[in-house]
Symmetry: C2
């Protein structure tokens, strides 16, 4: 059986790209990288566990993609440009076919965003994947959760609830018609981090977060950090349509794993934001407004009556 | 039960230190930090799994210490000054007593080395701890594994094999007398990263690595990366003395988890290095010399006959 070191070298050691500011990559005690002068370094980390953050049936190539994508999504939500990543992975066995697929998924996405994998640790254990990403952003233009102000618009990219609908279909709770079913499954397995959108929102958005726990829960984080409230019109939410209205509502408001961006912006930015959607080929929907009352999220249905949002996914609280 | 977010906030969100270059800490999509102009950023990552990288009986406070210490040791082996860390942790349950102890161990070490914890992810699953550390080092003075040259001296800090001897005692394979037993156990549970030594070796050492897999295996990594060989005198190795000569040899040559530094340096640096030991209160032992033959490690016993080094610990190859 190949040793740990052979595995790391073969699957995760790739030469740095031309023009990269990676001075020393995988294979020493630490990597050495050069941050651009004047840029703040953005740092995010996420751990994925089998059966908890992805269905057991997830193909390893999708898993490699997703482990990096969810972290790039965090950088996108800061307006940061991704540069480097590290990977720690525990595997039940040194399965070369699995590693081939997993690393192919990871590196395909890394290359698309010019990210160098600069550190790795491989060990035996129940499948667990931890990725840390490093990016760059001008500190004064970073998009935090704390900048939303009363009167700001609330925007959402893409479509909400696709991943949750795909999960419901996988679990036999709903039947989705093609081609929507395949599209939803792709969003669950291979989410697309909104990196270019995040970069273009520098100086435009007042706050941003990515949708990992569900629209209501993630907007809630913005409200808490910003000390504001929000009024959202459900009919304006770009939600998935499965044919089951109750499921649609759950998926749109509480479906995790979409990795779209929720952002707030002054009304004066509307015209500039409206231009971004076509430029980046991403639907951008204005879904409500920030209000003064701290932490209060009101979602109005099409009939004008308030809807109680289902709660978002929480790893510990969601225990059986 | 407390939610994941409450847990993260309570145990891992601490204010940045005075004078820190942390612009934004835990609690947003990513942290923002400022790297000192002209410094390279050193990045290292390590994952610890229960029963594999530490005995199940390890106290949670020691685990918090060790999870950070093994990563700081990687930075020490690069000559880098630690600055920031991220933590991803999977826990079987949201155990507040456990988290209190674990975070106390982690933060005590972090504060001692002025490290800010800037990112965290907490989830439910089999115990797994992944830490990524970021440090700074002048790029031209970073200590890599690739700089050893024929004629260089080989040095080791501290004492080798304490952690392995403690593990052997825990497993009932040897009885250790006090106070040596307690000292060895402390080295296994609470290793001391040689950060100050690494910083002082900038410009003095030609190559360095920390002892995580065992002296022979880790020196082997230096030989491979540097394209050289080595002659080591076993009698000069600062090894543990348990009263069992065969165990002592295994512990000194193949005992992992010591987190001492092995480094090489030109003979002209001997006087400067000799001054470092007393200055830092760390024993520094000259144990052999780098030779020209690539990858060949020869260990000579006290009688002048070669010893075949036991192999180092390897997570995948060491499977039952």
């Amino acid at each position: 059986m190949a040793s740990e070191f052979d595995l790391i070298r073969r699957f995760f050691e790739r030469p740095a790209r031309d023009g990269s500011r990676t001075l020393l990559g995988v294979g020493d005690d630490a990597a050495l990288v050069r941050v651009e002068p004047g840029m703040a370094l953005a740092v995010a980390t996420d751990m994925l566990l089998a059966g908890r953050h992805f269905p057991d049936a997830t193909p390893p190539r999708a898993l490699g993609h997703k482990a990096l994508a969810v972290n790039l999504s965090d950088l996108a939500a800061m307006g940061a440009t991704p540069r480097w990543a590290t990977l720690s992975i525990a595997l039940p066995e040194a399965d070369e076919a699995w590693l081939t697929e997993f690393s192919a998924g990871l590196f395909a996405l890394a290359q698309r965003f010019d990210v160098d994998l600069v550190g790795g640790d491989t060990t035996r254990g129940p499948l667990a994947i931890s990725v840390t990403v490093l990016g760059e952003v001008p500190a004064e233009h970073a998009l935090t959760r704390g900048g939303a102000r009363p009167g700001d618009d609330i925007w959402v990219s893409g479509e909400l609830g696709q991943a949750a609908a795909a999960l419901a279909a996988l679990q036999g709770r709903v039947q989705l018609a093609l081609p929507g079913a395949a599209q939803a499954r792709a969003r669950l397995d291979m989410p697309e981090p909104r990196v270019a959108l995040g970069e273009r929102l520098r100086g435009l958005a007042s706050a941003a977060i990515d949708v990992s726990d569900g629209f209501a829960a993630d907007l809630g984080h913005v409200l808490e950090r910003s000390g504001v409230g929000a009024l959202v019109h459900y009919a304006q939410l770009p939600g998935v349509r499965t044919g089951d209205a109750a499921l649609d509502l759950r998926c749109a408001l509480a479906g995790g794993d979409d990795y779209e961006l929720i952002f707030t912006a002054a009304q004066s930015a509307r015209a500039a934001i409206a231009l971004l959607g076509p430029a980046l080929d991403i639907a951008l929907s204005r879904v409500g407004a920030i209000q003064a009352t701290p932490r209060r999220l009101v979602v109005l249905g099409a009939d004008g009556a308030p809807i109680t949002p289902p709660t978002g996914y929480d790893h510990f609280a969601a225990s059986a």
